[in-house]
């Protein structure tokens, strides 16, 4: 398949619609096409991209000098990625929104608005999103003149009590506020339900509680420090985020990674995928009272994590991916331990998968629960297992094949039912496929170095990392400043693209089924709030 063979057609459409593309580059952001457009055309370009069938992926801004922002949006078409960029004047930071064409852009644009003070003039929902009360209206943390330590010292700021939630009124309609502190051992966020009897009429999510200023505190770090931080953007996706950040930095620095390190990174990310799927399959079953599966899958996850600890030195595989490679090599005994762990899990799943797949009481609770229709999933641009369970047949490992997956046969399950059962089935299938991939990776593990020394790139070098984490597409943008220090870091967790799906798939379900629906989606709070 020829990459970007569709691009000339899209550019012709832009010309037809009078969207002026000033400049294009296939090299400035390695493996991604970069198009410069006027900020007035920001919305019109989205209209063209929408009509053409592109999927919206991300938006981020970057203050490149004292008076100018670069605003970037990323689109995907047939596994190719396109970044459009517009300069925005700090004195008048107003431009059209892309949200009317792509609902997925709604919250990301509001994040840009809160963090940079860039206003999207025709945005359908101009409420704040990431900002609660930690900084004042009219202050923007990612602008250069905003101090990283803030201006409030150790003051405890007020709770965000006056956020204008969507209201539903009518006889018998009542409201259930939940969170930010939830009943289980999970991350904080607020859910506002409107219900009639037991039926959910509307759910509105309010996130941002675990906003830790990751984008701001990344500034000024060196490459190794950034990889460490990226590994903590979202603790369950540590490998995926660290790899994406390293991929972005390595592309910026035009640095190649030894083949052995690439294989080991893929082994790590597949092990992370399997660990999370195991835990979540058990947890989904637990949410409908099927204790047997909770016990068994909890056991498998623990055994799996212990092997992580023994072989890679960390139960959650943190800090294994470093700029230029991986932090540790494996000897023959460790490789044997890994292979034994894969064989053991394979055998266990042969016994357990049929039980989970065909247990009547599970079918009763999971089939038809929390349905995300393929149409809604397409509208929202949903990715990962949530998308795959609703007819979205997209997996970067196959469709945007990056090393080392370009040499592998990647299978990706897809179903159309869109219910909790389908999401569970995608995960059991993915575990099987990941085990097969790991076997291929280890069988063809190249000899040689596991890391090359890191050479910092020149000021202004930028790169985009893209890969398939266990939740779906992870995107990471890095721009370097002087002396090899990071000037801009933007990690886009797939959670941004799957949280909106939860609001849709819960409609018409009963309130007591919310936990199982939520768990079947399992979007990250930390990865989203940054």
């Amino acid at each position: 398949m020829i990459r970007f063979e569709w691009l000339s057609e899209l550019l012709a459409r832009c010309e037809d619609e009078h969207v002026l593309v000033r400049h294009g580059s296939a090299t400035q952001l390695a493996l991604v096409h970069l198009l410069d457009i006027d900020h007035e055309d920001w919305g019109s370009f989205a209209a063209v991209a929408h009509a053409y069938g592109c999927r919206w992926s991300a938006v981020w801004a970057d203050q490149v000098d004292s008076g100018l922002f670069n605003l970037n949006a990323c689109f995907e078409y047939r596994g190719d990625y396109l970044v459009v960029r517009a300069g925005v004047d700090l004195r008048q930071p107003v431009l059209p929104s892309q949200t009317p064409w792509f609902p997925a852009a709604n919250r990301p644009e509001r994040h840009v608005q809160d963090m940079f003070g860039i206003v999207f003039s025709d945005h359908p929902d101009a409420r704040r999103w990431t900002r609660h009360q930690a900084w004042s209206e009219g202050h923007y943390p990612l602008r250069r003149d905003f101090p990283a330590e803030g201006d409030r010292g150790g003051e405890i700021c007020a709770p965000d009590a006056d956020y204008p939630f969507f209201q539903v009124q009518g006889t018998g309609v009542y409201e259930i506020p939940v969170g930010p502190v939830h009943a289980g051992i999970i991350e904080p966020g607020h859910f506002r339900f409107q219900a009639l009897g037991e039926t959910v009429l509307n759910l509105e999510e309010r996130l941002g509680y675990v906003h830790k200023g990751i984008e701001k505190i990344a500034e000024g770090r060196d490459a190794a420090g950034l990889a460490r931080l990226a590994g903590r953007v979202c603790g369950d996706s540590s490998v995926a985020h660290a790899w994406a950040a390293c991929m972005a930095m390595e592309r910026a620095a035009r640095c190649s990674v030894p083949p052995r390190a690439l294989h080991l990174r893929a082994v790590l990310v597949e092990r992370e995928r399997i660990a999370n799927h195991l835990g979540d399959i058990g947890a989904v079953c637990n949410d409908v009272g099927f204790a047997f599966a909770h016990y068994q899958f909890g056991r498998l996850r623990e055994t799996w994590q212990r092997v992580n600890g023994q072989v890679f030195g960390h139960r959650l595989l943190m800090d294994c991916v470093i700029p230029g490679g991986v932090s540790r090599d494996l000897d023959a005994a460790q490789l044997d331990a890994l292979k034994a762990s894969h064989a053991e899990l394979g055998g266990e799943l042969e016994e357990l998968s049929p039980i989970v797949d065909y247990h009547p009481s599970l079918e009763d609770r999971l089939l038809g629960t929390g349905v995300l229709t393929p149409e809604t999933a397409a509208l929202l641009g949903t990715v990962g297992y949530v998308g795959k369970a609703s007819g979205r047949d997209y997996d970067l490992r196959r469709d945007h094949a990056y090393a080392p997956y370009h040499r592998l046969q990647v299978e990706s399950p897809v179903f159309r039912e869109g219910d909790v059962a389908a999401r569970l089935r995608v995960r059991t299938h993915e575990i099987g496929h990941s085990l097969a991939l790991i076997q291929q990776l280890l069988d063809t593990l190249p000899e040689g170095e596991t890391a090359l020394p890191w050479q910092p790139p020149a000021s202004g070098a930028e790169g985009l990392g893209l890969l398939e984490g266990w939740r779906g597409e992870v995107l990471c943008y890095v721009r370097f400043g002087d002396a090899g220090k990071v000037a801009r870091f933007f990690p886009r967790d797939p959670s941004w693209l799957i949280w909106p799906a939860l609001e849709q798939l819960i409609h018409g379900n009963i309130v007591p089924d919310f936990p199982v629906c939520n768990k079947s989606v399992n979007a990250s709070y930390s990865g989203h709030d940054l």
Binding site: G150, C157, A158, I185, P188, V210, K212, G235, G279
Partner: protein, 169 residues
Amino acid sequence: MLRILNKIRKIGIVTEPVAAEPSLEALGIEVKRRVGRRMRGSFAIRAVDAGSCNGCELEVHALNNPFYDVERFGVHFVASPRHADALLVTGPVSRHMAAALQRTYAATPAPKWVIAVGDCAVGGGEFGCSYASLGGVDKVVPVDIVIPGCPPTPTALLRGLLELLKADS
């Protein structure tokens, strides 16, 4: 059903002596005795995520898996601070969570303990102190014991919990 019963028979109970560390097992037995006497047999913990990356939560979850089975020491996690003897707090305390943490602390009946879990909760960790992060649980509520680690392993968590109980009784 037969398949389920067969699997249960084959796997049996995997709950193990505490990580093969004899001192820990002895501590566990002693703490169970103390929980029995001083806490009327149950030590209830309410977990609060105050800005963690979710790494600590995964390991706190692991405490409840069949290997560690923390309930056998009389320690269990509860859904409300009203039912809790202690708060287990993770994360550097994002400023957006500070008020919620304060309120959760206020809702916990005295006497109460606060356990700061993970490097972030202990001193800010990788996120430190910033416009968005307060840099540690002790900036918001008094802390009785810290369990460092990024994240602490279930064994480290268990050791910390047992030491808290022992120190206080």
